[in-house]
Amino acid sequence: MTAQSIERATEPRGEAAEPAKRADKVDFKMVTFSLAGKEYGIDIMSVKEIAKAGRFTYVPNAATFVRGVYNLRGDIISVVDLRIFFHLPAERKEEEALESLIILKIDEHVFGVIVDAIDKVVGISSAAIQPPHPIFGDINVKYIKGIVENGGKLYIILDVEKIFAPDRDEDIPKPVILENQKLMEEAAEESERAARFRESTGKDIASSFVGETLSSFKGFHVTPVNEEWFEARYAEWKSGRKGSELQLKEASEADQFLEAFWSPSTGRLWEDEYAQAAEKILPPIEAKTINVWNPGCGKGYETWSFASILKKRYPEIRIKIWANDSDLLAISMAPNMVFSENVPEYYAPFMNKGRNGLAFSQAIRDSIFFEFHDVMNANPLPPLDFILCRDMLSFVGPIDQKRLLGDFYDKLKPNGILICGSNERLGDGWTAIGAQGVSAYRKG
């Protein structure tokens, strides 16, 4: 076995050809290489060394992109062929020929990746890195950190940590080979899933990309809860725009996309119509107290609205509402909310006129606890009659969402009711009872 380590050569700073205006400071260095004729880069901090090597020891039963294992001065490392990993054409070299190998060190794990040719080390300013564009096609966007132009060439910077990072939940590092085995399975599964996705939707990889942009710009996650809305909205969006305009390029566009998502009367007191519709779904209750949880209440408009509705529907019963939000600024304003004259008629009986305007009466006030609280932490609450969480489930990640829905289910009393956003849908274990724009579910 041969391994000729090549010294890392840093390109001289500020090439003469480079225009003077690009005097940005060099704070990001990458090793550049080519794959199927395109230029790529990897952050130099992940690169341990580069080498020429060949005659890898074949590992039976490994995924196709694993070329085998290799003895790097006594350490056994696994070698992944990046071209095969990304489904790019790879020329098969002769048995004895040497391949260009980049040795990566990610956390404690060392891997070798095979590329077509290693070019050089390029220093750039990290400010010049552009976000990845959806139509790169060859390589899944989530593996791309960004794209950068240098010396007339475009380099795609790969996020090797995403590609190879071991599962962070696991504290005990597994042997490299085992880890790799898992990666392979995952990667195989991933590519299979991607293939299936492409088949099922045929044309629209772009829609999944729009979904990803929404999550990175606005924290909105496309999940079964809102899939139905998302697909309809995407179709509408697509018909209104064409070509490159389809994608959401900035936060304001994501806002525009989500404009249609919000439930009626978001950010203000519920309109009469919506309030009456909500009142209609409230079942008769015989109890001394009604417990309500309103996670993600924001500035508290919906809490005040719902408190009034409950008071009207159950005038004799004591009502307790726990309203939380993790946005300190929004929740701080909630308890002392004052309104101008023109509030919906529905609330008139529950409001008093004060010096600064209309405010809710003490009886309503006493029924609500506004709390600075993150629902992802423990939620110490008694058994609940109602949960009000409009447009909130869509803004937690899929795993947290699942956990939260489980928590909701556990905390609701039998036949308890959950009111979610008008464009949100719940699945098994919930019976839809909503009507007239109010989306509500009964447990069981």
Binding site: S332, P335, F370, F372, D374, N377, A378
Partner: protein, 154 residues
């Protein structure tokens, strides 16, 4: 934690620290935490009872505790002796008491338990199912973190 409880604690901490240290105090960003967290070295704890249940924990490292105690006593205290511990305990008591007084004016009834102080290396508080509000205070003598966990009695 109820929104109404936040300000009294922040204000009390700010006022008392500025008064006893006779110097500028800066408040850091407030945040919530529910995982177990390391204690910097000196921690004074005051329990709360009444309408609510909870505790307030004042956490700082040893040099900060020494310097703060020295400033409060007007003499140089180089070792973590009884006087230093008593001073930090008193500081915790003053801040919590002032916060509770403010809360009382707002109509909330809180009682205090006598403060206790813990010192040592590599300590950790873990009551992971309790969410705590962290109020970081930057003083000239170092950082003091006030960790408030209060919940309504069910």
């Amino acid at each position: 934690m109820r929104v109404e409880y936040i300000n009294p604690f922040v204000e009390a901490a700010f006022n008392v620290l500025r008064e006893v240290l006779q110097s500028d105090v800066r408040r850091g960003e407030l945040y919530l935490k529910s995982t177990s967290m390391p204690v910097m070295g000196v921690a004074a704890i005051v329990g709360l009872a009444g309408d609510v249940e909870g505790r307030v924990l004042f956490d700082m490292d040893k040099p900060t505790a020494l310097k703060t105690a020295s400033a409060m006593n007007g003499e140089d205290l180089p070792t973590l002796d009884e006087l230093v511990k008593a001073t930090i305990t008193e500081l915790a008591n003053m801040i919590t008491a002032q916060a509770v007084t403010k809360l009382h004016d707002l109509g909330f009834r809180f009682d205090l338990t006598p403060p206790a102080i813990f010192t040592g290396d590599n300590m950790e508080v873990s009551n992971s199912d309790v969410e705590a509000l962290i109020v970081p205070m930057e003083t000239v003598h170092g950082k003091i973190e006030i960790n408030v966990a209060i919940r309504e009695r069910a």
